[in-house]
């Protein structure tokens, strides 16, 4: 995939030394052959972050920290003791804990909070010598599809600064898109890795529910939340997943299933033909932008030419995915966010007169509008009079949606669809209408409701040069197959700019 920045940068304000690395393997090749060093790479990324500050992708940049770590890793490289991620300069979404560093979920309520521990997923990457260059802007408590609800302000899409990067992992996606770090770690509760990845023309992977430990991820909705990588290539997504995944004594919901060597098994055997279903609505509905329908149809045609069976499928329950998601996630959020009360950490109102008003005022002043709305909705659907009508009902529908998805995935190896119904929309375009904003997740939310893995891969550009994403989904814990087929598709499916 060519570097997308050609739409907004001229070659001459791009530091000539920072190559457009598509894979970590390419970086490690340059480190090995002495073309570059970790220190040099970190310096170049820091310079790019500085030059692109107006994108607002980072909340905090760890300049001296990351340079010091780079020095240490350069020494390890010389000594031949470096880990598998040596040379990886990584950004982490502001919902992932990193000991002795700030983390505040894009919210005022965690003002001045420094994490006393490191998330398991982050620790495993650090153990393999990843360098964390900073924490990245996101929608407050990961609630949003446009990165406009952050306490730290809006994030801008590098393909068009008047447009949103998607959300909630908007800063993380833009940072990879704009070359501010090589990869990012985001979280995906209803599409928060895949949707911004699609809007920014990069790869975003949401693993199966429970594949990666959630320890150290600030919870939004615990039965949906997944940590996932945002990268330039499927190859790197596979490597990061392999290192992060697997059993963890700090998370009793994480799967104890063995972790395959995703990075080793990614070559798809071309003679292996598969059955693929595509959502009929996604290429026929007027609600999907014409350019996206067109690009999706072209992919379908090329897959057929390659000898795969590609058929339209119906998912009668598709339209119920979003309301199910919003009932259950607001309910879980209202419970998860009860801990932010101004007592043990974070923001405390100075206006309080007693303990109850300390809770109320700290929470009211500390949470933003969308978070307060979702806490209220979640409290409402969990309240005694409405619990069965909303919450239990949604849990029943969730069961049906999961069964429908699993059924389809016994008949088809993969389900494909666009990631989003439109490309990146304009800043402010949907902020006044919650329901319109929620619809941005129509195709992504199913994987979270069903717990299946899904990946967003770039699929060309629309008439305005804005990135389009293709989503590929498969059965739970079949990431190996998903990654190797996505890698094959990325390499073989022609997009207009490749042709």
């Amino acid at each position: 995939m060519p570097y997308r920045l050609c739409f907004c940068f001229s070659e001459d304000n791009f530091p000539p030394e920072l190559k457009d690395y598509q894979t970590l393997a390419a970086i490690q090749h340059d480190l090995k052959t002495g073309v570059s060093t970790c220190v040099e790479l970190v310096r170049l990324y820091l310079a790019r972050i500085e030059a692109e500050q107006h994108l607002n992708a980072f909340v905090e940049v760890y300049s001296s920290d990351s340079l010091q770590r780079a020095e240490e890793i350069d020494a390890k490289l010389t000594a031949g003791t470096a880990g598998r991620l040596a040379g990886l300069v990584l950004g982490i979404k502001d919902v992932l804990c990193y000991a002795a560093h700030g983390v505040q979920a894009g919210s005022k309520i965690l003002d001045n909070y420094k994490s006393p521990f490191t998330a398991t997923a982050v620790q495993r990457l650090l153990d393999e010598d990843a360098i964390i260059i900073g924490r990245q802007n996101c929608d407050e408590f990961a609630m949003g599809s446009s990165n406009e609800s952050s306490y730290f302000g809006v994030v801008r899409n590098a393909a068009d600064r008047a447009r949103v990067p998607g959300g909630s992992s908007g800063g993380s996606a833009v940072a990879v898109q704009a070359g501010l770090c090589h990869a990012s770690l985001g979280s995906d509760t209803g599409g928060s890795v895949r949707q911004p990845a699609a809007f920014c023309g990069v790869v975003g992977l949401k693993p199966s529910y429970g594949r990666v430990s959630r320890w150290g991820l600030i919870a939004y909705a615990s039965s949906f939340d997944c940590i996932g990588p945002i990268t330039k290539s499927v190859e790197d997504a596979a490597l990061l997943l392999e290192i992060m995944a697997g059993a963890d004594e700090f998370d009793s919901t994480v799967s104890t299933k063995q972790v395959p060597a995703y990075s080793k098994s990614r070559t798809w055997n071309e003679s292996q033909k598969v059955r693929i279903g595509y959502l009929r609505e996604s290429v026929e509905s007027e609600a999907v932008a014409p350019a996206i329908r067109q690009r999706t149809l072209e992919v379908i045609e090329q897959l057929r030419e390659q000898g795969h069976t590609v058929e339209p499928v119906e998912m009668p329950l598709l339209k119920y995915g979003l309301p199910t998601y919003y009932i259950l996630t607001t309910a879980e959020a209202s419970s998860n966010l009860a801990r932010f009360d101004g007592v043990r950490y974070g923001y405390r109102s100075q206006q309080a007169s007693d303990l109850e008003s300390l809770y109320k005022k700290s929470r009211t002043e500390g949470f933003g509008e969308e978070v307060r709305r979702r806490i209220l909705l979640g409290t409402f659907v969990l309240s005694a009079n409405y619990y069965d009508a909303y919450y239990t009902k949604a849990q029943r529908v969730r069961k049906l949606i999961r069964s429908e998805t699993e059924q389809l995935l016994t008949r088809y190896d993969f389900l494909i669809s666009p990631v989003t119904p439109t490309t990146a929309f304009k800043l402010g375009e949907k902020t006044d209408d919650s329901l319109q904003m929620y619809l941005a997740d129509i195709f992504t939310v199913g994987a979270n409701v069903a717990g299946t893995p899904a990946i967003a891969i770039p699929n060309g550009l629309d008439e305005n040069g804005l990135p389009i994403g293709l989503q590929v989904m498969t059965q739970a814990f079949e990431e190996e197959k998903l990654l190797s087929f996505s890698q094959y598709m990325s390499a073989t499916i022609a997009t207009p700019e490749k042709v």
């Binding site: 009793s252 101004g342 009902k393 029943r396």
Partner: protein, 95 residues
């Protein structure tokens, strides 16, 4: 779903949030429209369907019942907005 001011304030109290008078109208309107949209689920026949309450196949991942203290008192107090050397401080609870 219609909700009135009283119900809104009751829910806000349960959630330990305050709703200012000038926010009431807009908040009621947006909550009502989202709740009404959520009621689409009534179209789905869920007769005899068990609610899905666990997303993982893992059953009872026990750990040894050994006390571990991963967080020192100093670290635990370090993030508190108000504390002394031993305790987190809050406004007086008992008169």
């Amino acid at each position: 779903m219609k909700i009135d001011r009283e119900a809104l304030h009751k829910v806000a109290h349960l959630a330990r949030l305050e709703v200012k008078p000038e926010e009431e109208a807009a908040l009621l309107a947006s909550m009502e429209s989202v709740l009404t949209w959520m009621e689409q689920l009534d179209e789905v026949d869920t007769e005899g369907v068990e609610p899905l309450t666990h997303m993982t196949d893992e059953v009872n991942n026990w750990r040894e019942d050994v006390a571990k203290n991963a967080l020192s008192r100093e670290d635990g107090l370090g993030n508190a907005p108000s504390h002394d050397e031993t305790y987190i401080k809050v406004p007086k609870v008992i008169e």
